[in-house]
Structures are given as C-alpha cells and as structure tokens.
Symmetry: C2
C-alpha cells in the first residue's frame, strides 16, 4: 500500500533551500500571470531515494533529462515562460548542447600576456551563436526559472509549492511532468544514520511505495490547469493500457507514453478517448530534428484548445 500523500509531507522535512525556492516561484508566477503569459512547468530528470541519512548510497532512476531540457527550449520558442524544475546535474536547456570537453575544444586561447583573449573558433560559431542568442533572450527577459531537486522528497515539496503558485494562472498553466519520479522510497524513520556496513552481508532495503501526487495535483492544487504526464515502459504490450488506466484514475488531460528503447524517435499521445503515435521519419532524424520539437507543437495545440474551451 502506498502511503497517503498528506502523511508523506508530515513525515519528511522540506529541503533546506525550500523557502528561497518558494519565494522565487511565487515572484515568477505573479509577474507572468499579471502580463497574461502562458506558463509551462516542466519537471525533468530522475529522483533519488537515499538509503542512509548521511547519504552515501541511493536508488536512482534512469533519466538524463534530455526530454525535459529539449522541451523547455521549444516551449520558450512557442512564447511560453518556463519553470524548469530539474534534477541537479541532469541536462539543462541550451547548455545541454555543449557538455564537457566539447566546450573547451571550441575555444581558442590568444595568449598575449595582460591582453590575452579567448574566442570561439569560427567553425563552432555557426552552431553556438543561435543557441546562445536564444539563451540570452530567455535569461535576460526573465522568461525561465531554474529550480533543482535531488531526492524524491525534495521533488514532492517543490512540486506542491509550484502548484500553489500556478493555481491563480488557471488554464494558462501547463504542467509537463517529464521527471522520472521514483515509485518507492525508504521512510525517514526506517533509514539508518550511517553508511550501511557491508561486513554483515548485503544490506536489506525496506522500500515503501510513494503516494501518487497526480491525484491531489489534478483535484486540489491546480484543478484548472492543463496537465500532461509521461509514462515510460520497456514492454510495448503494456504501454497504452497503462496510460489509459492513469487517465481514468487521475482525470488529467494527456499521457505521453514511450518505450525506453525507442523514446528518441517515437511516442504515443493518449487521451481518454483517443491515442495517436508521433514518430520521426528517417529524413527528419538525419536533418537533426528532435522529437521534442514535434511533441511540444502538439501539446501547445491541445493546450490552446483547452484554454479556448475554458473561456467560452
């Protein structure tokens, strides 16, 4: 049995920087709601489940955060402002294109003592310039807010706080829940303080199911918002049926279902009475089109319809 969501909050403390993040979220939502903007909350990356209070070991979910990071760029392109709520160290919009050594290799050092300069090599400028331009527009216009989490407990606290700030935006708020949230956790009172010693044989891990936040989120926190959840499976036979089950249970608008093996070029949009596949053609893949470009365009169309229905 999953614990109840209210019990989860009463048993786990908020992260230490919680109040700062809540202030940032509140200011961001109020500012953009006042100017009538559409706001997308994007969650991205996996959550960890600590096995010890002084955390050395944890259970993690597979997720680099590419889906969320890429989608954030496309929502900005469609005129949305974006709350990017991501797992620390997972991919981020814009910087995702230049990780690690790629960045150092693009740079040219012109060593002239006190007049030393560093420039981007001409052949890298073509790739970097358009991305840097979009980054600066989002950054300088205050159109993106970065909020990070690590554990599933952090995620729970931040997601609820974001919803409270988004509620006044009504149907203009879109929740795009792409984070790979753990299904289970170790209750705080069952967690050892120190690193589990291996001398006594392999550790035994007592896991408990996490409460499903979609239920209070859709019904209580942001009842007017457009809510999209994601479902990742490895077994194709379960894909649509499990997505439909989730829609019936939580009553949100859209599940984007995908298989681990094919998720970079194929997803299935599942609504309560329809399902259709979106996939990249070989030509699209070769020309560098990302599936998130097409996913976001479709989600924006659905969201636009939803806002219009809400208004009339």
């Amino acid at each position: 049995m999953a614990s109840h969501w209210e019990d989860f909050y009463s048993q786990h403390l908020p992260p230490s920087d919680f109040e700062d993040n809540r202030t940032l979220l509140k200011e961001f939502c109020e500012r953009h709601n006042n100017s009538g903007e559409r706001i997308a909350l994007i969650t991205s990356g996996g959550t960890t489940v600590p096995l010890e209070h002084n955390t050395v070991r944890f259970v993690d979910n597979f997720s680099a955060g590419l889906r969320g990071a890429a989608s954030a760029e496309y929502f900005l392109d469609h005129g949305y402002v974006v709350i990017f709520m991501f797992r620390l160290k997972s991919l981020e919009p814009f910087t995702r294109h230049f990780s690690g050594q790629k960045f150092m290799d693009m740079l040219e050092l012109n060593d002239r003592g006190p007049n030393t300069t560093i420039t981007v090599k001409p052949d890298s400028v073509d790739i970097l310039a358009p991305i840097l331009a979009r980054y600066k527009v989002a950054q300088e216009g205050g159109r993106i807010l970065y909020i990070n989490f690590t554990t599933v407990q952090d995620y729970f606290w931040l997601l609820r706080a974001a919803c409270e700030c988004l509620a006044p935006c009504g149907s203009k708020a879109l929740l795009y829940l792409a984070a790979a949230v753990s299904d289970f956790y170790i209750p705080s009172n069952e967690m050892p303080t120190h690193k589990i010693q291996s001398d006594g044989g392999p550790p035994i891990i007592n896991l408990q199911l996490v409460p499903k936040l979609l239920a209070p989120l859709v019904n209580l926190w942001v009842p007017q918002a457009y809510v999209v959840s994601f479902k990742l499976e490895t077994d194709e036979n379960l894909l649509v049926s499990k997505a439909r089950d989730a829609l019936k249970k939580y009553k949100h608008k859209l599940v984007i279902a995908n298989l681990l093996q094919t998720r970079r070029h194929k997803v299935t949009f599942v609504t309560i009475d329809d399902s259709f596949e979106i996939s990249l053609t070989r030509d699209q893949t070769l020309s560098g089109i990302e599936i998130e470009d097409i996913i976001v365009s479709n989600v924006v169309l659905h969201h636009t319809d939803f806002i219009h229905c809400d208004q009339y």
Copy 2:
C-alpha cells in the same frame, strides 16, 4: 559471502565498447612506458548497480567525482601522464571548473551576420585562460586518456584491462583508486528483463556482495605498482581501523581515509605502520587551495621513494 572475482567475470559480459577501450589503453601505456613516463591511473565517480536488464532503475553511490577530477590536474602538473577512468557524467579535469550555465554566461555574442563572433568576456578570461592552457597542453601532448564507465560491471572489466596494460610499467605505475565502487550488485541471472512493476507492492531487491578487486589487483595484475585506495566513512570511530584492516588484507601501500562530512578539507593517510592527517587551514581554504593539491604532492613523494627502493 562475496562471489569470487573470477566468477564475476565469467558471469558478466564486458561492455559493448570494451575492445575499443582496451586498444586505447594499450597504445597509451606502451607509448608512455617507452618514453619512461610515470603513469597514474585515476578512477573517479560512483558506479551503478542496475536493477533491471533494460535499465530504468539502479542503485548508485554518492560521488560527484571531484576528488578524482581535481587530482588528475595535479598529477599532470607533477609530470605524470594520466589515465582518467571516470563515471560518465561525473566531473572531469579542467571542465569541472565551468559546468552548466557558468559557461554560457562567460560568453559574449557579437552579432554581425556572417561575421558573427563569440568571445569570452574580459573578466572571465583571467580565470579561464590558465585552465584552458593546461587543458590544451595535456590534450595536444596526448598526456591524458579518458575512459568512462557507468555500471559496476563496466568498471570491473575496464579496471582489469587497464592493469594488464600497466603491468609492464612496473613501479612507475601508480593506481589512485578514488572511484566509489558499489559494495553489492544484482547477479545477471537474477535480474528481471523489464521494468519492475509497482502494482504488486514495492520490489524486493536481492543484493550480493561484489568481490574485492584489490586482492587480485595487488597480487596478480600489477604486483610492482604503487597502489593507493580510498575509504569513505560517515563514522569517525571506524575510519583508521577500517583503513588499516584493508592494508593488512590486500597488502597495498596506502589508504587515504576520509569522512563524508569533512572530506573537502581533511583526509588521513594510513600506511601499514603509520597514519597522519592532512588538512587545509582556514587561510588555505580562503585562498582557493584545494586539498587534492596537497594530497597529490604527498602521494608523489611516497611514489618517488617507492620507485627508488625498487631500483636499489
């Protein structure tokens, strides 16, 4: 009971890019052994333990990889060539100083159509220039080889292959085993193929202890090399005693022991008949000195003594 190391290799396949990495390791070690260089193999970052064959979930170790990444830079400064064997996405030498947005914020876009240039802002040049210079010396001189792993199984295969290539270097080889290797794993034949479903209640995870590779490494694979292992604990009372136990058991040269809570400014060097603490003063910390700078200087002194003893 831990499984035997030979059984571990017979039960787990090498990673798919194993042969490519083995070729790179062999070429690197032969080239630098021929020119009489000292070679440091640095392992860095945590290893994952997959819970499913189509991996969605895994157990992970806490480790950003800062110790290994910083140490690699200082070994290069001391004239060593370096094999940097790291967990994919953990910190890397040089690039560790400029992760994520820091990099984008350093850049200035000078939009002039086809003559667009991108330069590093003058106030960032001071910080970036010396690091970029060291990076380019290492890179262009072929003085560093990057090899990455993700799972504990990958790590096992790559570490043994590196040892086989290092053996001919004798006492000039130094192994600096800073990676946080998992103590346990799920045997391949007990792992489910698909993502564990949460409908049936929380999953039960059957863990097995991993064999300790230090035993065959010290005795069989690189018997002439200088081997340093690391020990991370959260309980100060266990720190030196557990380090000494490891030295007695595996017969290597040095354990660098540290507490999770204080590891950024204090470590303890433990040899079979001695132990001493290295810590940063407040002034050193404020002036930006890293403890890895001092750790590596001390390890290099020990290694130099060791090489001389070996020669006479």
